[in-house]
């Protein structure tokens, strides 16, 4: 009995150290909060930028809801209607696509720098875990949102991804082998990607994922408020600046500039101009799949390896990586910042190279297609 009580008290201690809610006061959050100044200080802005892009997504997303119609016969037409006939509809839509990519980019940089700066270290484990959740939710946003315009590339890319889930079944033993195709059917809702899939993705994209995101980001920001900025470097910084008003103003200043850039980009350059048009025709269930079906660039880091290496290697690697992200605070508990930043550089280099030169590497491995 006594032992159990100890366990319980241990858990309470664990939680109070991670979530010191008694720190939640105006003085702590506004008057005393400070941001260390050192050569990695720029990394402190990445989380805020991600938040800015999320806010843009939220606002433009709600705007798009006013005109978008989630049915297989109307989805593509309603997106075209927004783009060509609704006043500044193209702008709202371009903002939504541009800002989604920017959000994922910032999120990745945020995650890698937080890793390199050992910002996950005790007592900030919960902040890291909620951040990892946010990463996965954001990728889910990207995946579900991709299908909604119901054009060729969207539907076909979704088909391919869902099919690869089923593929995983071949590598599982016994009764488990049926599990992936079961999961696929739950996601897909019918035998092939159709109205049921669209309805599911729509519900996920506009209701369920935002709810989860709000919860996770609440926890994440609470963690940041309770513990303040992580020191980020080994030697205690000589200089610090107050979060309010100094840092937050710089933050808003950056938001202003970044928003302006994204706004101008969205005014001038549709994200779709990077692809050839036939991919954006309405999905045709009876025709052949057009060439050039690819996921969004932020999935290249799994897409190209998937094309080149045996399937099971990637599946295993992805599963380990996904689970591993959540255990980072414990795996790297005693790793020095120096080693962490080397690992971070390796990850960053991998992501950059595979995203920029994936097609080239693919062609080297596979020949140019014939």
């Amino acid at each position: 009995m006594g032992k159990q009580k100890n366990k319980f008290l241990q858990m309470v201690d664990f939680l109070t150290e991670r979530m010191p809610l008694h720190n939640l006061s105006f003085d702590h959050i506004v008057n005393e909060k400070e941001v260390p100044v050192h050569r990695m200080s720029w990394a402190y802005y990445m989380g805020g930028l991600t938040l800015l892009f999320f806010i843009i997504q939220l606002v433009t997303g709600v705007f798009l809801l006013f005109y978008y119609q989630p049915t297989v016969s109307d989805a593509h037409a309603s997106v075209e209607y927004i783009t060509f006939f609704v006043k500044s509809g193209f702008l709202i839509r371009n903002l939504h696509t541009w800002s989604s990519s920017c959000m994922i980019l910032c999120l990745m940089v945020h995650m890698i720098t937080s890793f390199a700066m050992k910002a996950f270290a005790r007592p900030r484990e919960i902040t890291w875990i909620s951040g990892s959740l946010l990463l996965i939710i954001t990728f889910a946003f990207g995946f579900t949102g991709y299908l909604l315009p119901w054009h060729q590339i969207a539907v076909n890319a979704t088909k391919v991804v869902l099919q690869s889930i089923e593929e995983a079944g071949h590598y599982l033993p016994g009764a488990l082998a049926a599990l992936p195709s079961y999961i696929k059917e739950i996601i897909q809702g019918e035998v092939s990607v159709g109205q049921a899939t669209l309805s599911r993705f729509y519900a996920l994209h506009v209701v369920i994922l935002p709810l989860f995101f709000m919860g996770a980001i609440g926890l994440h920001l609470l963690g940041v408020q309770l513990h303040g900025m992580s020191p980020g470097v080994d030697t205690p910084p000589r200089e610090k600046e107050r979060f309010f008003p100094v840092f937050i103003l710089k933050d808003f200043w950056l938001w202003g500039i970044v928003f302006l850039v994204v706004f101008v980009l969205s005014l001038c350059l549709p994200f779709e101009s990077f692809y050839s048009y036939p991919l954006f025709e309405a999905y045709n269930a009876l025709g052949s799949t057009p060439e050039g079906i690819k996921p969004e660039w932020y999935f290249y880091f799994v897409y190209y390896p998937l094309e080149i290496l045996p399937f099971w290697v990637i599946m295993l690697g992805m599963t380990i990586a996904q689970a591993g992200i959540f255990f980072v605070p414990w795996i790297f508990k005693n790793t020095s910042r120096k080693v962490l930043s080397i690992i971070a550089w390796i990850i960053a280099a991998y992501l950059i190279i595979i995203t920029l030169f994936g097609q080239l590497i693919y062609e080297v491995f596979k020949g140019s297609g014939k």
């Binding site: 006939f85 609704v86 035998v191 092939s192 799949t289 094309e307 596979k366």
Partner: protein, 435 residues
């Protein structure tokens, strides 16, 4: 006669005073060229007044200088409505800044004991003239709209006439009272200028932009630490003020640019008749397409066999797409004997729809990951990502009366036969029993 005094006599007195007294004062009382800062006597009110005052007045003076100094350029600029609007809005905003700060400066002169000890009559007179000047300017701007556009043309010639020594008051004598008052009090201000603390404006402090800010404080070793903290606090306050100003301006610009666009998003779309009918016909077409697909599905639920094509329509090199009993895409070709080859078009790799064109080796291509399939065997060519063959579909050929002529199951077992002469007329079906 009074007009002649105000707009011709007074100006020359004022200019003479400005030039002569400024020179004498600079020559003989150089150290009196100062703004006589009172920051160390009272700085809380001052912070809220001095900065906005200088910001506002510099903007306004720049505007006056540009409008009257470069009337040609200016008139081109203000012919752009947006520019005129921005200039007027900025002008009125700056005037309000000046007005509020002058009132604060006056009040602090009257309520602070320390300040009263150093306040001279001229200090108060200067403030009052400035206040009068700002008020008349603001009143003129509000009562006689778009001054930025009309003033350079209407008043420019008068000012030039003064400086070209051919004074002509006729340009101003019929002006509205506010404008006349504004001009007259400007000359009074210029006349007083060299006698007062305003002379600090002549020491154009351009290096202030690059040096770090200075603060006038009491000097004592005891309060050193306190001042260091205070200076840091003041730095933050300065940053905050600047940023708040910037944020205010950017929010204003954003509201103009962004909100304007965002707001329009919710307006009714004005479409031409052609656009509207284009949209509607497209919508109908899509609905029909969905309806067709649903019909195909229903047909597959209820019917034992489904028509694919006339045998004569099939080609040996270009497949015809159709939908099998599981609603998956499939392709129909014809072989050398003129008999059909029905093969699934759903790639066994990741489910893309395979292309319909046959290459020279009798293969079809899945474009997603470049898998080639032989349509006779269904086998993928070596090295393709797909490892499993595309399955064949069973088929049946019937004549026009619906009599079964020949059938083949998915494994290739045939029953019946067909007379080549009849082949062209026969119809190709897929059957439920094969699926």
């Amino acid at each position: 006669m009074f007009d002649l005094f105000l707009f011709i006599g007074l100006p020359y007195v004022a200019i003479a005073s400005l030039v002569v007294v400024s020179f004498i004062r600079y020559k003989f009382r150089a150290f009196s060229y100062s703004s006589l800062s009172t920051q160390f006597l009272e700085d809380r009110w001052l912070a809220w007044a001095s900065l906005p005052w200088h910001l506002g007045i510099i903007l306004i003076l720049l505007g006056h200088l540009l409008a009257f100094g470069l009337p040609g350029v200016w008139s081109i600029l203000v012919s752009i409505p947006t520019f005129l609007l921005v200039v007027e809005a900025l002008g009125i905003f700056s005037a309000l800044l000046c007005l509020v700060s002058l009132v604060i400066l006056l009040i602090r002169r009257f309520v602070d004991a320390k300040l009263q000890a150093v306040t001279s009559y001229l200090d108060v007179v200067v403030l009052l003239i400035l206040l009068f000047q700002v008020l008349t300017g603001l009143a003129a701007a509000i009562h006689h709209r778009w001054g930025a556009a009309w003033a350079p043309g209407a008043l420019g010639p008068y000012i030039r006439s003064i400086f070209l020594l051919q004074p002509d008051a006729s340009f101003v004598k019929d002006m509205p009272p506010f404008v006349k008052l504004h001009i007259a009090s400007a000359w009074v201000l210029i006349m007083f200028f060299p006698f007062t603390r305003l002379v600090h404006a002549l020491s154009v402090p351009l290096h202030y932009f690059v040096r770090s800010p200075q603060k006038v404080v009491w000097n004592s070793s005891r309060s050193q630490v306190r001042f260091e903290q205070k200076i840091q606090f003041d730095n933050e306050k300065r940053l905050f003020l600047k940023a708040a100003f910037g944020a205010g301006a950017s929010v204003a610009l954003l509201s103009l640019g962004v909100l304007d666009k965002f707001f329009r998003y919710f307006l009714k779309q004005d479409l031409t008749n052609a656009e509207e009918s284009h949209i509607l016909s497209q919508k109908l077409q899509r609905l029909k397409q969905s309806a067709d697909e649903r019909e195909l599905e229903l047909e597959r639920m209820n019917k034992d066999s489904i028509f694919v094509a006339k045998l004569s329509e099939l080609s040996r090199t270009r497949g015809k797409y159709f939908i099998d009993y599981q609603m998956r895409p499939a392709l129909a070709f014809s072989d050398e004997q003129g008999l059909p080859i029905l093969i699934s078009a759903k790639c066994t790799h990741l489910g893309c729809t395979v292309g319909q064109e046959l290459d020279a080796q009798g293969r079809i291509l899945c474009p997603c990951h470049i898998s080639y399939f032989d349509i006779k065997t269904g086998q993928p060519s070596p090295g393709s990502p797909a490892k499993l063959p595309l399955p064949h579909l069973g088929w049946a050929l019937k004549d026009e009366q619906g009599n079964l002529l020949m059938a083949q199951d998915p494994e290739g077992r045939r029953e019946g036969s067909i007379d080549p002469s009849q082949a062209g007329k026969s119809l190709l079906f897929i059957g439920k029993r094969f699926s």
